[in-house]
């Protein structure tokens, strides 16, 4: 059993007590929500004539259904309009905080909430969204939950949970040029599998993680759930504190006291883990997924697997994945023609991601439809201040408003038929990008930008001088 890890400390601090079933009742220090998984929770409260217990600890935003091309209200899609209007009604009626559209704070939940300074080390954070694990980048314990659990949190600011085991993942070595935290995450998932993290929270550490920026750490932790871990985190350090200083909702008057507290939640040197894995990323190349789950990935210069590499049920599944993706076994992945490139999402829609894409696209032209979707109104504003929008538009990209866009296609941005996409998002599941037969390749912003130029999956390193 783990001991003295950040997970153990933060968990203990939030324990309300043991329930009659033996499960733990935990206090939720920060609750976040969006329009897709919350309306039914508010309705449950209305049914039971309950109020929100701690409205100031909940903040909401519209991100999944918001169109990123034309945001005029009412939205053309009446279902999307209904969902947005429902959240606006609920936040007003129940008095919870709301990052309204055009307030300067709207955006993809996991981009805007940390960017506005709502996420701090040592918090226990939940949201009705599996990528809530993103906030682990700050040394918070952050979990995705379901809608009934959202209603529990609204009504009591607590929920029932079982404690997870903790796996330390040491990422060591030196990242090569053009290799990013996205590639590290896809590599870890390839090595440990999409089932590897079941029952675990992942603690990411080692010199490679230590030298990552907060945005890189967010990308890494965002993908913890794709490796089966409900939560993933990085211990807070000077990088974390510097990021939080001056953020709108970060502590101001008490900042120094906060830093002292934040330091105290990190795993101690003598911490014990349920499992430890060491991964050297020195020879890692940019990663691209070839199949229909995030563990089905290869380096951009590798081939898709041969079926002989699998046995039994796994062989059938690999065969099905190759077939769905239109690949023959052992085929080179570089050079595969794509129809659409999507740069954005809660995985890679932050300003540093757009800078990376712009670095490659500057002075070049894209040869396929390319959507660049900033993760938040603030990211959009900053990108425009830096002239990145001009680089994208000059290259022939579509420059959009903030939202989830083509990551999951609950808005007008969708693949059509068997279109193939190069995407900086997080899931390459069948049908994920809106067409039941659409094909998705996950990759970093660098690789997506290089792929946009060539119209086929490309190694970005040749564009990085």
């Amino acid at each position: 059993m783990s001991k003295n890890t950040l997970y153990d400390k933060v968990w203990s601090a939030h324990v309300v007590g043991e329930l009659p079933t033996g499960q733990t009742q935990i206090f939720v220090g920060r609750h976040l929500m969006h329009e897709v998984t919350s309306p039914q929770a508010f309705e449950m409260l209305r049914d039971k004539k309950l109020k929100v217990a701690h409205p100031t600890l909940t903040t909401a935003v519209i991100d999944h259904v918001i169109p990123t091309h034309d945001q005029t209200r009412p939205y053309k899609d009446s279902q999307a309009e209904t969902m947005a209007a429902e959240l606006e009604r609920n936040v007003k009626e129940f008095g919870v905080n709301f990052f309204a559209n055009n307030s300067g704070k709207q955006g993809v939940c996991h981009v805007t909430f940390p960017e506005q300074g709502l996420i701090w080390p040592g918090q226990l954070v939940v949201c009705g969204d599996s990528h809530t694990c993103t906030y682990g980048a700050f040394g918070a314990l952050a979990f995705g939950i379901g809608t009934t659990q959202v209603s529990h949190v609204l009504a009591t600011q607590t929920m029932a949970m079982d404690k997870l085991k903790v796996r330390r993942i040491n990422v060591v070595g030196k990242l090569g040029k053009g290799v990013t935290s996205k590639d590290v995450a896809l590599h870890i998932i390839r090595k440990l599998g999409v089932k590897g993290g079941m029952g675990f929270a992942y603690e990411f550490g080692g010199n490679v993680i230590d030298s990552m920026s907060m945005e890189e750490r967010m990308t890494l932790c965002n993908l913890a759930v794709e490796g089966g871990a409900r939560s993933g985190y990085v211990n807070p350090d000077a990088t974390t504190f510097a990021y939080l200083k001056g953020k709108t909702f970060a502590p101001k008057k008490d900042f120094d006291a906060a830093v002292a507290f934040w330091k105290s939640v990190a795993s101690t040197k003598d911490a014990e883990y349920d499992s430890t894995v060491d991964i050297d990323v020195t020879t890692l190349e940019p990663m691209v997924t070839w199949g229909v789950n995030p563990e089905q990935g290869v380096g951009v210069l590798e081939k898709v697997p041969a079926l002989d590499a699998y046995n039994g049920k796994e062989k059938d599944e690999a065969k099905d994945a190759l077939n769905y993706m239109g690949f023959c076994e052992s085929q080179e992945i570089a050079g595969t023609k794509v129809d659409v490139v999507f740069i954005g999402s809660c995985t890679n829609g932050r300003i540093s991601d757009l800078r990376a894409a712009a670095q490659i696209l500057k002075g070049k032209k894209v040869s396929v439809r390319t959507l660049v979707v900033p993760g938040s109104e603030q990211v959009k504003k900053e990108a425009e201040k830096e002239g990145l929008d001009k680089i994208f538009k000059d290259a022939g990209c579509e420059w959009r408003f903030a939202g989830c866009s083509m990551c999951l296609a609950m808005n007008p941005d969708k693949l059509v038929g068997q279109e193939r996409s190069a995407s900086t998002s997080n899931r390459n599941f069948k049908g994920r990008q809106g067409s039941p037969t659409g094909r998705t390749h996950l990759m970093s912003p660098y690789t997506a930008a290089a792929t946009a130029i060539e119209g086929k999956i490309a190694d970005p390193r040749k564009y990085l001088g």
Binding site: T37, T156, M161, F261, F429
Partner: protein, 206 residues
């Protein structure tokens, strides 16, 4: 199809026919594609369950286990490993429940999905891969096989066969004592919640 989910009830067993669907890593996008979630209630989710597998080009796929007439009336889904991975959308277990699924027997479950099932009173239990294969084979051969998931004795029985099942003990207790929707139990602890809140340092930071 069930119209509403009971608030509170004791579940000691689930008895019924099975539907074999044992691929690994079935995700919640498979169970309910995102485009069907643009509704503010769960009421009609049952008709969208596994939509893109059950319908191709608008036509019903008759061989899909949830379309196949021989499994019609089945209430126990037999699944593989990492069932329900991906998105946390409760729409997925809601869709299964409203389609008529009362229990899922899998090799393993994704965490968030398992928690969501529990809060709806869907019984999720695990068996080793070899037992899953035997059970699925039996149902495929004899679709009318009656399966009993006995939570008190932690075993699953069918056609005179028996296997030990697993589920987290807290979850088993919540089914046995009828508190699987934990809200009423959570809400009772008002003073404990208040004292926990007071000792959380960061809530006071300005």
């Amino acid at each position: 199809m069930t119209a509403s989910i009971p608030n509170d009830s004791v579940i000691t067993s689930v008895v019924g026919r099975g539907i074999p669907k044992t691929q690994n890593d079935q995700n919640t996008d498979d169970i309910i594609p995102a485009r069907f979630m643009k509704e503010i209630t769960f009421a009609s989710m049952g008709k969208y369950v596994y939509y893109d597998e059950r319908f191709k080009d608008g036509k019903l796929v008759p061989t899909h286990p949830l379309n196949d007439a021989k499994y019609s009336g089945g209430i126990i889904l037999i699944a593989g490993a990492n069932f329900g991975c991906g998105s946390s959308r409760e729409h997925a277990p809601q869709a299964l429940f409203r389609y008529g699924i009362k229990a899922i027997v899998a090799e393993s479950f994704a965490e968030i999905f398992a928690g969501n099932c529990a809060t709806l009173g869907i019984v999720g239990v695990t068996l080793p891969a070899t037992e899953i294969a035997l059970l699925a084979a039996e149902i495929t051969k004899n679709p009318s096989t009656e399966i009993t998931i006995n939570l008190s004795e932690k075993k699953i029985t069918y056609n005179k066969k028996s296997a030990a099942l697993e589920l987290p003990e807290g979850r088993r207790q919540s089914f046995l004592n009828g508190t699987w929707d934990a809200l009423s139990v959570l809400a009772q602890k008002k003073s404990e919640i208040l004292s926990t809140e007071k000792k959380i340092d960061y809530l006071q930071f300005k």
